[in-house]
């Protein structure tokens, strides 16, 4: 008796993965589901769903932070997950993006935010090329050490350069220009059932100093664009070249892949996305200082990618949510946060070493390996 895809209706065979199930849906259903999901994500900070909503800190602000983590994880995933380059200094690019915005909108010039963000992306990208061009000739652990150094160099430069604000950092970073189109009401759960609360609203799209929900919307929109970019580029010659380089650099080179060029490209694109995320952070925070770009942040970013499953974009998004959200949600355990986080990482390393959502290739390979092991055992006992 075998359960195949033509199993009797009413009971989904459990062997089918989530992705397979989604793939077999009609196109229209898929689109509707995606739209519903997107609307849900946009409304999330206003739904005030009990338990999920953080009580100690503003939920919109927390969601914005999580969104920047997601963005960073998507960028770092290109470098670590696709191209297989261990980068421990990613916070450097995040800082470059944030400081470009700080310098050009507040410290030394007063350019428009709309103009500055693309500049920040380009500057971060250039810094990625500058770091990558000499260092991508070394591999593996050596690259990790060199990039680790880069992150620290950026931070120390910020501390010691008065032109960049020194240890005091840069303040009064202006808000992005907004438009006030309509107000979105929130839900109030204090009565036990959700009631539309017309007095607490967020304005679409006004970037104020009290209401962080519009920043979250902005970040969410950008994540959507970056995801689309990721999907399109990954499923092309570029994505294959990255994977081939990760799998066997020498063999890839001998099959006609200019590996150095593609590694540099991964580095530059990853840096650009990191810089974009930093630019968003600076915009929302309004104030940046070298303390915002500690080495620990690099480790957290990398943790997001590894926890989620390097190489799987959906996995790293989950990883970023775990790393960004849970410490905020469980602020009550403030003193034990890092301890719990460490324990969780250890458990993960033991039970899911490939990450929460490993790339499908790993899942498929694992399944095939198991099948082979069963067969070999069968042969041995026969």
């Amino acid at each position: 008796m075998s359960t195949t895809t033509s199993a009797p209706a009413g009971r989904k065979p459990s062997s089918r993965s989530f992705k397979e199930r989604v793939d077999t849906m009609p196109r229209a259903v898929k689109i509707v589901l995606w739209v519903v999901f997107a609307v849900f994500l946009f409304l999330l900070p206003l739904l005030n769903i009990p338990f999920i909503t953080t009580e100690g800190s503003d939920f919109g602000g927390v969601l914005f932070t999580v969104a920047t983590y997601v963005l960073v994880a998507l960028g770092l995933n290109i470098v670590v997950g696709y191209a297989g380059l261990l980068d421990l200094g990613y916070v450097g690019f995040y800082a470059v993006g944030a400081y470009t915005v700080g310098v050009l909108t507040s410290e030394h010039a007063h350019l428009s935010w709309v103009l500055v963000v693309p500049i920040a992306i380009v500057v971060a990208m250039v810094s990625g090329v500058i770091l990558g061009a000499p260092t991508l000739r070394v591999r593996g652990d050596y690259l990790a050490i060199v990039t680790l150094g880069f992150g620290e160099i950026v931070r120390l430069t910020l501390v010691n350069s008065q032109w960049l604000g020194g240890a005091q950092g840069i303040s009064d970073i202006p808000k992005p220009p907004g438009v006030e189109l309509f107000k979105v009401p929130s839900l109030d759960w204090s009565a036990g059932v959700p009631v539309v609360d017309l007095s607490t609203t967020s304005t679409f799209l006004k970037f104020g100093i009290n209401d962080f929900v519009p920043y979250y919307w902005l970040a969410l929109g950008i994540i959507g664009l970056v995801l689309l970019f990721d999907i399109l580029v990954k499923s092309s010659r570029v994505g294959r070249a990255w994977e081939a380089t990760r799998e066997d650099e020498d063999a890839a080179e001998l099959m006609g892949v200019p590996t150095f060029r593609f590694k540099l490209l991964a580095f530059a694109l990853g840096a650009a996305i990191g810089g974009l995320s930093g630019a968003l952070f600076a915009t929302k925070a309004g104030f940046i200082s070298p303390d915002s770009f500690q080495l620990l942040l690099s480790i957290l970013f990398l943790a997001a990618v590894v926890v989620g499953g390097a190489g799987n974009r959906w996995g790293v998004i989950v990883g970023a949510i775990v790393v960004g959200y849970f410490p905020e949600r469980f602020r009550d355990f403030a003193d034990f946060r890092v301890l719990v986080f460490g324990l969780a990482l250890m458990l993960l390393a033991i039970f899911r070493p490939q990450g929460l959502l490993p790339p499908r290739r790993t899942v498929r390979a694992k399944r095939a390996d198991d099948r082979q092991a069963v067969l070999e055992e069968g042969e041995a006992s026969a």
Partner: protein, 292 residues
């Protein structure tokens, strides 16, 4: 009673489809007439410190032939491959391809010029599918970059469509079309070897270098491999073959070059090589009094 799943053993031989059209596509290098010199190894010496891996080795490969490169273990056969594909730079001497020295060209540039190889130890992209492995080879002559991919420009779509068609043709030729979406690491050993050849053929090489393709094969598979190599040649490729198995080399090659301790000790047709005393001595050893 039918068995639900058969264990895949090495005994199964995947049948190839010799009718598939796998002829090399034009990669923009000058054409060489059949029988003319395609590649020439000219007095190549390679030293690693005090070790002389190759010592003034000279031979050439003609377009359209199957040349065997044989020799005992450590004779420098794979090193010779590595010099030809740009992994090592010769200490002195030169490798001339299409009449021009390869010089200091990078590995991927040499591949683009039309020299492709397989590896003695299989080096597939293990976590990519069979199809993706071959696509990487086809991509060698593509130029889609981030911008083309991002906006799905016509170049991207054209190259993807062409690449997919060619990759599937190659997989069909190798009898692997049914396993296109299997991860390379999950393929049986023989299929992995064939996939490596398919990946190398995907770069449309003028010269295909096979490094011990029969390693680990049983006699039945070796026969199939000989057939495969001949079919590849008949489709318009030139083949350089490193192999240990004498029967296979004698059966499939047009000419043979024999290396020993980094020197060329013989060159000629399979029949000449079989009777060459120096070759026999290298492989079987000689009695003290016969040694010259």
């Amino acid at each position: 009673m039918p068995e639900p799943t058969q264990p895949t053993t090495g005994d199964e031989v995947t049948e190839i489809n010799p009718d598939a059209d796998i002829a090399p596509v034009d990669i923009g290098v000058p054409d060489v007439a059949e029988g003319e010199k395609l590649l020439e190894v000219d007095e190549v010496t390679l030293r690693f410190g005090g070790v002389v891996a190759l010592n003034e080795v000279s031979f050439h490969i003609n377009k359209g032939e199957i040349l065997g490169l044989i020799g005992p273990n450590g004779a420098g056969k794979t090193t010779c491959f590595n010099v030809m594909t740009g992994v090592y730079q010769p200490t002195s001497g030169a490798v001339r391809y299409l009449g021009k020295p390869l010089g200091k060209r990078k590995k991927f540039q040499i591949t683009k010029l039309g020299i492709a190889r397989t590896f003695q130890n299989i080096r597939l992209f293990a976590n990519m599918t069979a199809l993706e492995n071959v696509l990487v080879g086809v991509d060698a002559h593509h130029s889609t970059g981030v911008v083309s991919a991002m906006f799905r420009l016509p170049k991207h779509r054209r190259e993807e469509a062409q690449g997919f068609a060619r990759a599937m043709e190659l997989l069909t030729f190798m009898g692997l079309d049914g396993k296109a979406n299997e991860l390379a690491r999950n393929l049986p050993y023989g299929d992995q070897r064939r996939l490596e050849i398919a990946r190398a053929l995907a770069t449309s090489p003028q010269l295909l270098c096979l490094d011990e393709p029969a390693a680990g094969f049983n006699p039945a598979e070796k026969v199939k491999l000989m057939e495969l190599i001949r079919t590849i040649r008949d489709q318009g490729y030139t083949v350089l073959l490193i192999e240990h198995d004498m029967k296979l080399v004698m059966g499939v090659t047009d000419r043979i070059v024999v290396l020993e301790f980094g020197r060329k000790i013989a060159e000629g047709s399979p029949a000449e090589i079989r009777d060459n005393p120096a070759v026999i001595a290298a492989y079987l050893g000689v009695d003290e009094e016969d040694a010259s």
